[in-house]
Subunit: 311 residues, 2 copies
């Protein structure tokens, strides 16, 4: 088989990723560049590994789309807005010609939908599995950035949608909550925020740690996604807490009046309360009615590549 | 073996990468952020694959250092300056605990030397080989950006150092020509610039294409690095043109007076002339004395993972 050269394949991919945005330096040079109004730059990176984050045989368009979407979800968590992205792909030479243009189409589709142009990329041979590492550069929205660190005792913990069961297919097309984050910030809601990628159990432990607080979850309030099927490995609640790849926002905020919740809903943001922030000494607990048990921070540990119990 | 959890390992790595720079949002949140004076953001990405870009068994410190250095070399090519970096690592779980802290030390050492703080990262399990994908965010230097696109017929082509033989070990510690690029721009020298990663033969073809020009190289002028040993696979000149990973700058510029060259040398920039830019119709040629032959754009094609002939 007469394989295309790297340069030919890069040309094909570059054409697929061509952007209408006014780039100061377009792809094809050593660095991409884009002009910013303000002076703050935000960046986040996430890699997808074949066989770990997507099954072999998954359409490459979906893989490319997911690679950018998960990074945009991280931007949303910071209430940031996209500026552009870089993509590094490692692929076996004999699969690159098939995979790359499709990956690029998936990336380009998401790039257009979220105004996040391609700034550049890098293509490398490897024995497999295919790795797609995307870095998104962003900027703060008009209301500034939000971190994981601002939660305080007394805050309500809410999520922007139901959790669990994303492995059924939903994980391939997460919906980054960029607009929702901007709406929340415009109304001064978030004290702290993060996106749920590794499961509410593990991710909440991370937010609590960053904020120096404890947290209680209400078992009856955790919204279980219809995709969840209770299995021998766990109850529906355990799946909602531990499956991961939900890509909803977890928000710590002051208690809201019903009118505030209604106003947010009218602007397209659902906030589902799942628990409370407490003093650090009270730890992480799961409340079942009047009883509480320690919240085992089950979730996705990337190094164990399986459900794991975090700190 | 009792492996550390992902979060424990990430903590260890984060401590190694902690920066004195005033980061608006430090690592540990969903996005890193850094404040910029100006409004232009530059970004570049490069991934290193075990067994392709570095031999198995290479000290991880050296791999981490190289992963950042090659990206800084791309910044230098654009006459940009570093703002910060993101790193995504894919590693087998049973090797992560050994590899990651050492990788982080290598990254941190280079980050300090070049004032390029870590903005964040991503850690993922994979079956191997280890992949280290780094993205550097930058900003233009005071003289603005330089691209591959400004070369014009009549320009001299120069390189900032001898070429070839980097595989003997030099490739692990490339020296990004960030300062040299700033000096060149301060003196208004570069019309077009790029860094030589895949070999002068192939890279010159890329610069010529981006600029819409042809180019002639003078075989007697190409500076062959002392590391080059002529082999059955090629003469010393062929190695200098095709080995790759030189990470010197290729600069297209107006002919310089001897006093200009001397002044640059006094400021630490060596410009070694290797050829001329010509009209596109005259193509890419290699001059041996009075004769010229077509320049076969030999160099490193990442998809063929071998010496290849480009367009």
């Amino acid at each position: 088989m007469n394989r295309p050269t790297e340069d030919a394949l890069v040309d094909e991919v570059r054409a697929l990723l061509a952007s209408d945005d006014a780039l100061l330096v377009p792809p094809g040079h050593d660095c991409g560049a884009v002009e910013l109004e303000g002076g703050v730059v935000v960046a986040t990176t996430d890699a997808l590994v074949e066989g770990v984050h997507f099954a072999p045989g998954t359409p490459w368009e979906a893989v490319g789309a997911k690679a950018l979407l998960v990074n945009l979800s991280d931007l949303a968590a910071a209430a940031a807005l996209p500026v552009g992205f870089e993509a590094a792909v490692v692929a076996p030479p004999d699969r690159a010609a098939e995979a790359l243009p499709a990956l690029a189409r998936g990336l380009a589709d998401v790039a257009r939908r979220f105004a996040c142009p391609c700034l550049g990329g890098d293509l490398n041979a490897g024995p497999g599995p295919v790795v797609v590492a995307v870095t998104v550069v962003g900027r703060p929205g008009p209301g500034g950035l939000v971190t994981r660190a601002g939660a305080r005792a007394g805050d309500v913990l809410s999520v922007t949608g139901p959790l669990g069961g994303a492995g059924a297919g939903r994980h391939l097309a997460p919906r980054p909550r960029l607009e929702e984050a901007q709406t929340l910030v415009r109304h001064g809601v978030p004290h702290a925020m993060m996106d749920l990628s590794d499961g509410l159990g593990l991710d909440l432990a991370r937010l609590a740690r960053a904020s120096g607080v404890g947290a209680w979850l209400d078992a009856d309030a955790v919204p279980v996604h219809p995709d969840v099927v209770a299995t021998a490995r766990g109850s529906a609640l355990e799946h909602a807490l531990g499956d991961g790849e939900d890509f909803e926002l977890l928000v710590a905020h002051a208690p809201l009046a019903a009118t505030d919740t209604a106003r947010l809903a009218a602007e397209g943001v659902t906030l589902l309360p799942v628990g409370r922030v407490v003093d650090r000494e009270r730890g992480l607990r799961l409340r079942h009615g009047d009883e509480t048990v320690p919240l085992v921070a089950r979730g996705w540990d990337h190094l164990r590549a399986q459900d794991a119990e975090g700190a």
